[in-house]
């Protein structure tokens, strides 16, 4: 506490906070609003919820940053950003920004930061957000903390960004003491979706990008949408059923899919299944795969390694089925079923199917 100079030199030079004069005017919390194919990515709204808490703690404003090709569409999207509690929205509309490309997006974001000087800048840890954040932070020569699971403001007003390290065995809290903005990415579904306030209004600041297509070296030749669009739904599903090595063979993943289908949910698996080639990496649940926050998560034959735990802890109810009563998954599950998933999954599927169809006919 206090402003008296610390007499002893800290053991690590970077540990001491000595914010250079040029950064002292940096204020406000920004969230990059990922806007593609006419839609805002839900992670951006989740980050507005976190950004609001940080802005309140600091007593500053919360702003969203919207980039895209069509000015009218961005103005419409800005309404949704206000309704998620942003005070203002920076809009940069330019035909060059129609489809995401690193070069023009990095240029515009860097210009915006240098012009309007935010102290905190949050982005979703999506493929787009990670591609952009790394380039922007390097251009600005500031700190960037990836895949944070918790954000807070410390006593000195610095961003304390906590993230898992070493596969989730430990957590570490990272600060960017002497550079601005303090940048962080957060994965989809790590933070809860905040409520929206329909009708809430804010301000818009338009920024002219001054881009010319002829200057942009990378060209988008084609965009091929994913055929299996459900894969993208996994992170946002209300019901998720997943399998692990306890299923013993890739064929038994069918038991997981069948239960998910009866419940109208999504399915996935633990990391070893990807490593064994039993399923696509897109369906992996855990720290290096998808983070989920379903209402119900059924983990069948998953031991619950720490890296898996990190990805599922946000679930309202976790039901774990495992033959090994000492499996770590029982340390964080809500219901522990010590038994064979290969037998219990089909029984569960049948029981749900009966209940859901009989009642439907009756109703």
């Amino acid at each position: 506490m206090g402003t008296a100079p610390t007499p002893a030199a800290p053991s690590r030079a970077g540990m001491k906070k000595e914010l250079p004069e040029r950064f002292k005017s940096y204020k406000h919390v920004w969230v990059f609003i990922e806007y593609e194919h006419g839609e805002i990515h839900p992670v951006s709204l989740e980050l507005l919820g976190e950004g609001r808490k940080l802005a309140n703690k600091l007593g500053v404003e919360l702003a969203g940053v919207l980039l895209g090709g069509n000015r009218a569409a961005l103005q419409e999207a800005a309404v949704q950003v206000w309704e998620h509690d942003a005070d203002l929205v920076y809009i940069c509309a330019d035909p060059v920004l129609e489809h995401y490309r690193n070069e023009p997006y990095t240029k515009v974001m860097t210009d915006l930061v240098n012009t309007y000087q935010p102290e905190i800048f949050l982005l979703g840890a999506t493929v787009l957000g990670r591609d952009l954040a790394g380039a922007v932070a390097t251009t600005l020569l500031t700190g960037l903390t990836a895949d944070c699971t918790e954000l807070a403001i410390d006593d000195e007003g610095s961003l304390a960004a906590t993230r898992p390290t070493f596969g989730g065995s430990l957590l570490c809290t990272i600060h960017t003491l002497n550079f601005r903005p303090q940048m962080a990415t957060i994965r989809p579904r790590v933070m809860a979706m905040p409520p929206s306030a329909p009708g809430k209004k804010g301000r818009i600041i338009e920024h002219a990008a001054g881009l010319h297509e002829i200057d942009i070296i990378t060209k988008v030749l084609r965009f091929i949408p994913d055929r299996d669009s459900n894969k993208a739904q996994l992170a946002y599903a209300d019901i998720v059923v997943a399998g692990g090595m306890g299923l013993r063979s890739p064929e038994n993943l069918q038991l997981v899919r069948a239960l998910a289908s009866v419940l109208g949910g999504e399915w996935g698996g633990s990391r070893p299944l990807v490593q064994k080639g039993w399923m696509d990496a897109d369906r992996q649940i855990g720290q290096t795969g998808k983070t989920i926050r379903p209402k119900v998560y059924i983990a069948a034959g998953i031991s619950g390694a720490i890296q898996h735990r990190v990805g599922v802890e946000g679930a309202d109810t976790i039901i774990a089925i495992n033959t090994d009563r000492n499996a770590p998954i029982f340390d964080f599950a809500h219901f522990a079923v010590v038994g064979n998933a290969i037998e219990i999954l089909p029984a569960l599927t049948d029981a749900f199917r009966k209940r859901l169809s009989v009642n439907r006919l009756a109703g």
Partner: protein
């Protein structure tokens, strides 16, 4: 064609243990491996070389023992290994790492020809940041192509490259100019096993070892802890859940009874769930 592949030697995460009292990583006895994501980058580089001719230089920054990973990469088929090692690099975050690597790539370019493509893996398994690839691209002014799943065309005369790149909700086909930095998506190729000749050559090869000065680095303030804007303030173990899992009796019960019990307990915990499931099942 000259291709540089950046790799990192990492502890095999499957075997990492945390000391229960001190909360520190117990590195002793943990085997090290080439970051698995980097192998897809190496394979793609070797394929380009095999198709178009040229050489593949593998670069790593780390302690002297990281030469093991370079030898492994040579054993898979790379032509040259460069180890960037200096105590001034200790404590580097991603910004300082991208500085040191980009300087070494410039030096590699001066020494053996400017690379047309620099590869990295998608991310590492120990840091998981995916920031060093973009960092190198920005520092060297290379076209940045992350999460690349396929390289469809390389035109060395016209200095252009066409790739497929994983994007949100689909795949982007991008065409850009060389030189470019590519971070390779996992599973996009099958990593080869080196020939016996390559493995023997890797084991015996003379590696190039550079400290900061040898790599031409003069701005030491950009390296290691001094060059790292981020600071790790605290390391701690995740909290255990306060309440224990509720056991569902399975002994001497058939699967049907267990299933009914699970459903009953679930509905009791989430009273609104049954109605929601019914709505979903009815197609509302």
């Amino acid at each position: 064609m000259h291709i540089v592949v950046c790799i990192k030697q990492v502890p095999d995460s499957a075997q990492i243990r945390v000391h229960p009292v001190t909360n520190t990583i117990m590195r002793q006895g943990v085997p090290t491996i080439i970051n698995p994501y980097d192998l897809f980058a190496l394979e793609e580089a070797l394929r380009l070389r095999d198709r178009l001719g040229g050489t593949v230089t593998v670069l790593t920054m780390g302690p002297p023992m990281a030469e093991d990973s370079l030898r492994k990469a040579l054993g898979i088929g790379a032509d040259r290994g460069v180890l960037l090692t200096d105590r001034f690099f200790a404590g580097s975050d991603t910004l300082a790492t991208s500085f040191a690597l980009s300087q070494a790539i410039l030096k590699i370019g001066e020494t053996w020809g400017v690379p047309e493509v620099v590869f990295t893996g998608k991310q590492t398994i120990d840091g998981d940041t995916a920031q060093v690839g973009p960092g190198i691209a920005r520092r060297l002014g290379l076209q940045q192509l992350t999460y690349v799943s396929a390289i469809s065309e390389v035109d060395l005369a016209g200095k252009s490259i066409t790739v497929s790149r994983r994007a949100e909700g689909g795949v982007q086909e991008l065409k850009t100019a060389l030189p470019a930095l590519i971070t390779m998506l996992e599973g996009s190729n099958e990593v080869r096993r080196g020939s016996i000749g390559d493995v023997l050559r890797g084991a015996r090869a003379e590696l190039v070892t550079w400290n900061a000065a040898a790599a031409g680095i003069t701005e030491m303030g950009n390296c290691g802890l001094r060059g790292s804007p981020t600071v790790v303030k605290r390391v701690f173990a995740p909290k255990a859940r306060a309440t224990k899992a509720v056991p569902i009796e399975t002994r001497e019960r058939d699967a049907e009874t267990i299933a009914e019990d699970i459903i009953a307990q679930l509905y009791a915990t989430q009273p609104a769930l049954e109605a929601e499931l019914l709505r979903t099942a009815a197609g509302y």
